[in-house]
């Protein structure tokens, strides 16, 4: 009996935390989305969202987040796989994680220098005989830098899933005559799917609302919903419209979470 009261008491801080910092903000965002710029209750913001500009922007955000997630996955999976096979895997893992301790803005500024017309990347291209070209403020550099930033978050869950994999399953597969590719396709990949899914969630969701990189690296040639929210809140001070965009962002995120957490039967 006493135990139960105590447990409830211990739950209190967490419950409060969730209510104040998770539930209340979301409710506030939804609430604000119903007010127009003059503070009157209306649906204008939702009407505005369904115009060409914002729909195009949603599509853009979705497309870039998708690209960033897929490329991160393609690089992260083999990396994580190789990591689990190395001798000092914790050390290698640490070395991959360390760059994520550095502030994102600092990294973005560093890339402005590297990708600049007279930066290191272009000097290398010239040396290699390819000749310098514009790297900064292109779609390429935007996706490249975003992938660079998100890759540690993709590697970690996949690495954990691969590391936990019972090696006897692999021996069994090869004993039963499975080729290496079949083992990967039928045994390794399905068993690490959960790691892949959480990796995709951790990358896709923040990628959807990236905003500083769109200005610093893409020079506002890529406009995402994150940029629009920033502008609505800070410049226009139209909190209603900013909140409305945020509501749609939340809907997309919830949809993506639901999609990636469906468990297939029999796996």
């Amino acid at each position: 009996m006493q135990n139960k009261t105590f447990r409830n008491l211990f739950m209190l801080p967490y419950a409060l935390w969730i209510i104040i910092f998770v539930i209340a903000p979301i409710l506030l965002v939804v609430y604000f989305s119903f007010f127009d710029i003059n503070g009157n209750f209306s649906l204008t913001n939702y009407k505005n969202f369904f115009t060409a500009t914002y729909l195009q922007m949603t599509l853009n955000s979705f497309w870039y987040a998708f690209l960033i997630t897929v490329i991160s996955l393609l690089i992260a999976y083999p990396t994580a796989y190789i990591l689990t096979r190395t001798k000092h895997k914790q050390l290698w893992l640490l070395l991959i994680i360390v760059p994520s301790w550095i502030n994102l803005l600092l990294k973005a500024y560093a890339f402005i220098g590297i990708f600049g017309t007279h930066g290191a990347a272009n000097r290398f291209l010239e040396w290699a005989g390819i000749g310098s070209r514009q790297l900064l403020f292109t779609d390429f550099s935007f996706v490249f830098v975003a992938v660079y930033i998100f890759i540690p978050f993709m590697i970690l869950p996949i690495f954990n899933a691969l590391d936990k994999l019972n090696p006897s399953l692999l021996y069994a597969a090869s004993d039963l005559g499975a080729s290496k590719w079949t083992t990967f396709r039928r045994v390794i990949f399905p068993l690490t799917l959960d790691g892949v899914k959480s990796g995709c969630q951790v990358v896709f969701i923040p990628a959807l609302s990236l905003f500083m990189l769109t200005r610093l690296i893409a020079g506002n040639r890529v406009i995402t919903l994150g940029t629009a929210i920033e502008q609505q809140f800070l410049v226009t001070q139209n909190w209603g419209m900013g909140a409305t965009i945020a509501v749609f962002l939340i809907i997309i995120m919830v949809g993506f979470m639901a999609l990636t957490s469906i468990r297939r039967r029999g796996v």
Binding site: N3, F6, F10, I37, N38, T53, Q56, M57, I112, G113, G116, T117, H118, Q134, L136, F137, R215, L216, A218, G219, N220, R221, I223, A228, Q231, Q232, L234, V235, T236, Q237, N238, M241
Partner: protein
């Protein structure tokens, strides 16, 4: 369970101790006596020597804090909880702040040095009779360019030159709706305070034709990018131009002949002020011609203080790029507060412009 209880209690104890320490620290930092003055200004926008002089002369300790946008500054003052005695907003923000009753009226008797300010910069529409504000620096929006990187045969004298197809992928724009829409309106011969939707849509069409020439739309990074020879041309504020020219002598700046924006940053005393007498003293001190001259040499924006010009190097005062002649000054316009709805419309158009791709 016992261990858990103990852990829980010790966390509670540590939290309480931390709370007490924070309280003590807040109290120790003062914000209490008449002897401090909190100045809230743009980053790198004052000569620190001048502050020291003020402290020595008056015995008041200055706490100096900075902001990087009018909106952020205003939000912080609106929220309260701060004790800013002086803030330095731009003109359109002063109108908004006055409307929302965030400013104290100034006592002109306590600011005798006001006499040194050029009449051209007093009693302007955003603050009639200077009830709330005193101009600190002024400047223009214009074109910064690197003659060494310009394609041959191009001479830049006005906004229309930016549309030259030879400037393909060479222009950096500043990420501001008023600045860029205003540039478009001026190019077409309209006022940069125009709110007629027909004119604004025409402007958007015209701006979209500029897209092939635009390399990027950036914020304060434009200074670094220009200094690194990342682009040949940038649209920005005269103050940024002065900074860039300080780094690279070859750079040049032009106030467009079609007209442009004339902006002011101004001293105000926000309602958060605790040391109102000290704030008046500070404003008066900053208007002293010699102090103002020294400060202007450091900041390198244009000063409205006509007496200060006498103490400044001649090549600075005679530089028409920063002190344009009367004919050009007449074409410059100050931003009016267009109201929330028009401002939202400007921003919507600007967003559409940014979305437009070649």
């Amino acid at each position: 369970m016992k261990a858990l209880n103990r852990l829980f209690l010790s966390i509670l104890a540590v939290s309480i101790v931390l709370l007490i320490i924070i309280n003590r620290l807040n109290a120790a930092q003062g914000f209490s006596g008449d002897n401090t003055l909190t100045v809230y200004n743009w980053g790198d926008y004052i000569d620190q020597d001048v502050i020291q002089q003020f402290e020595e002369e008056t015995g008041i300790t200055v706490i100096y804090e900075t902001f990087d946008s009018n909106e952020a500054m205003m939000t912080k003052i609106e929220q309260g909880g701060t004790t800013y005695d002086i803030a330095v907003p731009s003109e359109y923000t002063i109108e908004k702040m006055a409307e929302e009753d965030l400013l104290y009226e100034l006592d002109h008797d306590k600011i005798p040095n006001l006499q040194y300010i050029d009449d051209r910069f007093l009693n302007l529409p955003f603050d009639e009779n200077n009830r709330y504000s005193i101009p600190y620096f002024w400047g223009t929006v214009g074109i910064i360019f690197n003659p060494e990187l310009l394609p041959e045969g191009i001479e830049i004298t006005g906004w229309h030159d930016l549309w030259d197809p030879r400037l393909e992928n060479q222009i950096l724009l500043v990420d501001g709706a008023r600045e860029i829409i205003g540039m478009g309106l001026n190019t077409l011969g309209y006022s940069l305070n125009d709110t007629n939707p027909v004119h604004l849509y025409e402007t958007l069409d015209h701006l979209e034709k500029l897209t092939p020439n635009i390399r990027a739309i950036v914020g304060d990074e434009n200074k670094m990018l220009m200094v690194n020879n990342e682009a040949a041309v940038a649209v920005g504020w005269s103050g940024d131009a002065a900074d860039i020219m300080g780094e690279n002598e070859a750079m040049d700046y032009v106030v467009p002949e079609e007209g442009s924006n004339l902006w002011f940053d101004n001293f105000v005393i926000p309602k958060t002020a605790k040391n109102i007498d000290g704030a008046h003293e500070f404003i008066n001190f900053m208007l002293d011609p010699e102090v103002s001259a020294q400060n202007t040499e450091y900041v390198s924006y244009s000063t409205p203080n006509k007496e200060a010009l006498k103490y400044m190097p001649e090549e600075m005062v005679n530089d028409e790029r920063f002190y344009p002649d009367a004919a050009l000054t007449d074409k410059l316009e100050v931003y009016e507060n267009l109201g929330k709805e028009n401002l939202a419309f400007y921003n919507e158009l600007f967003l559409q412009f940014k979305m437009y791709r070649k």
